[in-house]
């Protein structure tokens, strides 16, 4: 199967997802450590601003978009305040451009987004993986282990589905105040139901196919029937559902972070950046908008992949 023969939407989605994942993976390596612009004078600077970083003899850093010389002093001019320091106290001066602007603390938004994106995507990706594993195992078990177990499992699915997933998630997160592991588990365990139903339905439809019956007659053990006969048949629809699920979980993680129920703010995820920026929306549009756009692009890419898989 060549790249050209794939549906267009699938290609577009894969390109989008690949670009974003590639950027957050490789970007921080290429850019090196974040510039030390965290200084009040450098707060809330728009994208593209050049920032001068002033290193003092005592090791402290100051940073500001405008640095003027006035006699023996340097004047650091920020958006909100101005400071003078003696030239003798300064050891070096360097300058960096903040391509995507800075946040309330003067931190470089490009770096924040690349690092935050890593966390957001990793959390959502691992959550999807858990949903996938649980969905496949429970769905296959329900379809093959007889009516009693099927009934119990599917009633459990119904019970989970009776609550809106996001509400369940918010409730659990506000009680548990999750760290990364708990958050991944929470996301995975609130989103396996759709996959379970999908897998069960698909397997029920191939369970009576003649090659499966032949395997049963020959006494092929159940795990080989799963791996050889069921999984290859269901991988298309499952891949489609997984792509959509990944988009869902990116959004869910962002929502939790936005509400302050996500990870602690040491490494701000995209949702946290949006939430942080929305307080200063009028002053600094880029702060909410850029991570918001990143989230949207990622979710749309996933949807395109899912759609494209359905077409093919």
């Amino acid at each position: 199967m060549s790249w050209r023969s794939l549906p267009r939407r699938f290609r577009a989605g894969l390109l989008g997802l690949g670009t974003i994942c590639g950027a957050v993976l490789i970007g921080p390596l290429l850019l090196g450590p974040a510039p030390q612009t965290d200084s009040e004078h450098a707060a809330l600077l728009p994208p593209g601003t050049r920032i001068t970083i002033v290193e003092m003899n005592d090791g402290r850093h100051l940073a500001a978009p405008r640095v003027l010389e006035k006699g023996d002093n340097l004047i650091l001019e920020g958006r909100r305040q101005t400071t003078e320091v003696g030239k003798s106290a300064v050891s070096t001066r360097t300058s960096r451009r903040a391509w995507l602007g800075t946040d309330r603390f003067g931190r470089d938004v490009l770096h924040l987004m690349l690092r935050g994106g890593r966390v957001s995507i990793a959390i959502a990706g691992l959550g999807t993986l858990i949903a996938l594993l649980v969905g496949i195992v429970v769905g296959l078990t329900a379809a093959t282990a007889g009516p009693l177990i099927d009934g119990i499992l599917m009633r459990t699915v119904d019970a989970f589905l009776a609550f809106p997933a996001l509400l369940l998630l918010i409730l659990a997160a506000s009680v548990l105040r999750p760290g990364p592991t708990t958050l991944v588990l929470l996301l995975g365990l609130t989103s396996w139901m759709g996959l379970t139903r999908l897998v069960r339905g698909q397997v029920l439809s191939i369970r009576e196919r003649q090659f499966v019956l032949a395997a049963r007659v020959a006494g092929t053990p159940w795990y080989r029937v799963w791996i050889w006969h069921y999984l290859p048949e269901i991988r298309g629809p499952v891949a489609q559902d997984v792509a959509l699920r990944l988009g869902d979980l990116i959004l869910a993680e962002a929502t939790l972070s936005y509400l302050g129920l996500g990870l602690p703010p040491t490494t701000p995820t995209w949702g946290q950046l949006v939430s942080e920026g929305h307080r200063v929306m009028l002053d600094a549009w880029w702060l909410s908008t850029l991570p918001g756009v990143a989230i949207a692009l990622l979710v749309i890419s996933c949807a395109l992949i899912g759609d494209g898989l359905q077409d093919s």
Binding site: Q210, F211, G219, R224
Partner: protein
């Protein structure tokens, strides 16, 4: 001397009508005895209960009443209660090789699957056995790595036959083994089955609605009508002197027919 290989006693099975009507009595009080080396043909029109009977004989479904004894073992007993496994000793070839071969596996893997289930032979030896079996059914070794969709209908059915025979089963159940194939290919596959049956010492249970297919392979015949056995007897006698009007009607549809004899079968099957 003959020995009873497989014995079915008083099999009945009914399905609940999904539309809410009375239960469908798919088969009623069917008994049969299969002797080693004597092929049984089960003849009946669509809906007669052939597939139901076959599924029960294969252990894929439990009957409402009756039991199936194979080599002294009740095959519907849970496997844990059986002293010896029967896996691989009863095998099956289905009607449509498009559905009966997993499209994702190679021919070699498909044929090896029942061997793997037996967990008796080493990998290297398995490969050897698979190639020998493919050769026996007339599949060239270079086809072994192909997927089923790169094979013709006749070749696929040969692969399905190889998969059934790889474990050297005592009984092979064939469900309409040639009705999905084109006429010339039909003859080849029937010839192959007859040939293999003698070479490998098989006993065949053949299920078909087609009198000619039955005549080609069966030594004795059972006629099913609406789930009941209406007539049974040796193939020669039953096909030449049918007693039941239903059998006569089935035979009347096929003008030139003789029962299985020593004189080859191809010339009898033309048309």
């Amino acid at each position: 001397m003959t020995t009873d290989l497989l014995k079915a006693e008083g099999l009945s099975n009914a399905y609940v009508d999904p539309a809410g009507g009375p239960d469908v009595k798919a088969i009623q009080d069917i008994s049969l005895t299969v002797e080693a080396g004597r092929n049984l043909g089960i003849l009946g029109a669509s809906g007669a209960g052939k597939s139901t009977l076959m599924r029960i004989l294969l252990g894929l479904e439990s009957p409402d009443q009756g039991r199936v004894i194979f080599d002294g073992i009740d095959i519907h007993q849970p496997a844990s209660k059986r002293s010896t496994p029967i896996r691989g000793r009863i095998q099956v070839v289905f009607q449509d090789p498009r559905n009966s071969l997993n499209p994702h596996l190679s021919v070699a893997t498909i044929v090896a699957e029942p061997l793997l289930a037996q967990r008796r032979t080493g990998r290297q030896h398995q490969k050897q056995l698979v190639l020998e079996m493919l050769d026996l059914v007339g599949i060239r070794p270079e086809m072994a790595e192909r997927r089923p969709d790169a094979l013709s209908g006749g070749e696929r059915q040969r692969v399905a036959i190889a998969r059934a025979l790889i474990t050297h089963p005592d009984v092979v159940i064939l469900d309409e083994p040639v009705s999905a194939l084109d006429a010339p290919v039909r003859l080849q596959v029937l010839d192959l089955l007859g040939d293999l049956q003698e070479r490998l010492n098989l006993t065949i249970i053949l299920v078909s609605h087609d009198v000619r297919t039955i005549a080609a392979l069966a030594d004795y015949v059972m006629v099913l009508l609406k789930g009941r056995c209406v007539e049974e007897g040796s193939a020669r006698e039953l096909l030449e002197h049918p007693r039941h009007p239903y059998t006569r009607a089935l035979l009347a549809a096929v003008p030139t027919l003789k029962a299985r004899g020593p004189d080859g079968m191809s010339d009898r099957l033309d048309g």
